[in-house]
């Protein structure tokens, strides 16, 4: 087939499926789009309970395998980047398959920002203050409601996101290796401060069809196109899907990256400053010397409250040697009321945690 500039885009809902089927569909639809065999597409999808790794992540470092196996939570590896997530039927997936020329740029960060801003508008229509938070989150008052990531092949891109409709935080904490060793009430509270779902914000889960229609209308407006529903895969997509499923629904695919847990230690520290007690929990990527994930909590005053999750997002995947400059840049760029707490206290707390792992924090 050939894609005309004025052709309507396809909207397809592939329903509730296993993780392997959904990831194989990612591969098949992207390949078919790249080969010019499929139209520009908006796809909605849902998952049977699954722990999904980013393409380059290591299984043992990200997931609690025993819990997943005991509770029939399948483990899969996405073809897109980013971090591990827990996906269950109470979440809606959305994704776009497009040619880069739709964006008139090949700059991937610009493409991600445009899609995320549009997705945030679709959520605002439900009556929530959803905003894009660089690099890849959509948040409400600092709490993440949607994570996103992408893949490309030639000039075709796949950009996908989650949407938390309702969410079992405790279950997520049992599936994912968060930066806290034990699942205490504090850990659960910390997680609740960082993620939010539509049910909590609205007191009910809006009709799924209404949510999807919002995405369709906002993307149609953003890109100046019409959408045509079509719930059948093309013949070539179907055959590519079968081929992809045979590769992806295997242990070889899922465990292709599986470094030891000791290479991703969880570190913690308690730092007492004039502004209060600052606790830090972080996951360190030892080989790459990067902060995989960091949580700050404790007894201190910060206004606005979203400062903390925003700071944590800014520090994600930052090289250890850039932590100090990242923290000072972060506070320089915004108005934060912290009483006697200073930006340097956050750096000192991270330094304290890293010391337990013989990793030095040097400024650049």
């Amino acid at each position: 087939m050939t894609r005309g500039a004025d052709d309507p885009w396809r909207v397809i809902d592939t329903g509730l499926r296993s993780a392997a089927e959904n990831i194989a569909l990612n591969r098949a639809l992207l390949e078919a789009h790249q080969a010019g065999e499929a139209p520009h597409t908006l796809r909605f999808l849902r998952f049977q309970p699954a722990a999904l790794l980013g393409f380059h992540q290591h299984v043992k470092q990200e997931l609690r395998l025993d819990y997943c196996r005991q509770h029939d939570i399948s483990i899969q590896r996405r073809i897109t980047g980013g971090g591990a997530i827990f996906f269950d039927p109470a979440q809606l997936g959305w994704e776009l398959y497009l040619h880069k020329n739709v964006f008139k740029t090949s700059d991937l960060s610009v493409i991600a920002a445009r899609v995320c801003n549009a997705a945030a508008i679709a959520l605002q229509r439900l009556g929530i203050d959803a905003q894009f938070r660089p690099r890849n989150d959509i948040e409400v008052d600092g709490r993440k409601i949607s994570g996103t990531g992408g893949a490309f092949d030639g000039d075709s891109i796949l950009y996908q996101g989650t949407l938390l409709l309702n969410f079992d935080v405790e279950r997520m904490l049992r599936v994912l290796r968060i930066p806290m060793e034990k699942l205490t009430d504090k850990a659960i509270d910390s997680a609740r401060d960082r993620v939010v779902n539509l049910s909590e914000l609205l007191g009910m889960i809006p009709d799924l069809e209404e949510i999807k229609q919002n995405f369709v209308e906002v993307f149609a407006s953003e890109f100046g196109v019409g959408f045509k529903p079509d719930n059948e895969l093309t013949e070539t997509e179907h055959s590519r899907y079968q081929h992809a499923l045979a590769e992806i629904d295997t242990e070889e695919w899922v465990f292709q990256h599986d470094r030891a847990l000791t290479e991703s230690p969880t570190l913690e520290a308690v730092y007492r400053s004039k502004g209060g007690i600052l606790r830090v929990n972080l996951k360190l990527d030892l080989r790459r010397q990067r902060i995989a994930q960091v949580w700050f909590h404790g007894d201190f005053f910060v206004h606005p409250r979203r400062t903390i999750p925003d700071l944590e997002a800014a520090l994600k995947d930052i090289p250890v040697k850039e932590v100090e400059s990242c923290i000072s840049d972060f506070f320089r760029q915004r108005q934060v009321d912290m009483l006697l707490l200073r930006a340097a206290d956050f750096t000192a707390a991270v330094r304290e945690a890293l010391r337990s792992c013989d990793t030095e924090l040097t400024s650049v």
Partner: protein, 145 residues
């Protein structure tokens, strides 16, 4: 050394402009491959890399490695067909070397080409490369390295 919009293009390399990769014919007949500065600039900081295994045969324009930047994952496409005979293992822990030295320490793989004279017809160098990159950057709405 040529450059387009501030992106360096060494004159001794062959390029596949569409895939944004380079190839260098070594004295021993093997071909070293990597990403261009332009590709690096579009991607941003590269945070992970998975090369295909040594000994694996790759077709021309098929993936010889997968890279990740800013949560985007994509292939590095082999400029020539052949067996992968060496990979740059230093990139496994420090993939951002690709950004810092894409034509030097950031090389990605070495391929023993199946038929260099057949495949190199599809590659460009020198002035032709400069012209094609100028067109591509304009199409991409690229602001410069």
């Amino acid at each position: 050394m040529s450059s387009v919009s501030g992106c360096e293009l060494p004159d001794d390399l062959f390029y596949n402009v569409e895939s944004n990769v380079w190839a260098r014919m070594e004295e021993d007949g093997r071909v070293r491959v990597g990403m261009t500065t332009y590709a690096c600039s579009l991607a941003g900081e590269i945070v992970a890399l998975t090369p295909k295994k040594v000994g694996k045969f790759v077709k021309q324009d098929k993936s010889c490695a997968t890279v990740e930047s800013g949560k985007w994952v994509g292939p590095v496409k082999a400029p020539v067909a052949g067996d992968i005979v060496e990979i740059n293992t230093s990139l496994l822990d420090t993939p951002d070397i690709i950004n810092r030295a894409p034509y030097g320490g950031g090389w990605i793989a070495i391929i023993l080409p199946e038929d260099w004279s057949r495949d190199s017809v599809y590659l460009v160098s020198g002035e032709a490369a400069v012209r094609q990159f100028e067109i591509k950057m304009e199409e991409d709405g690229f602001g410069g390295c």
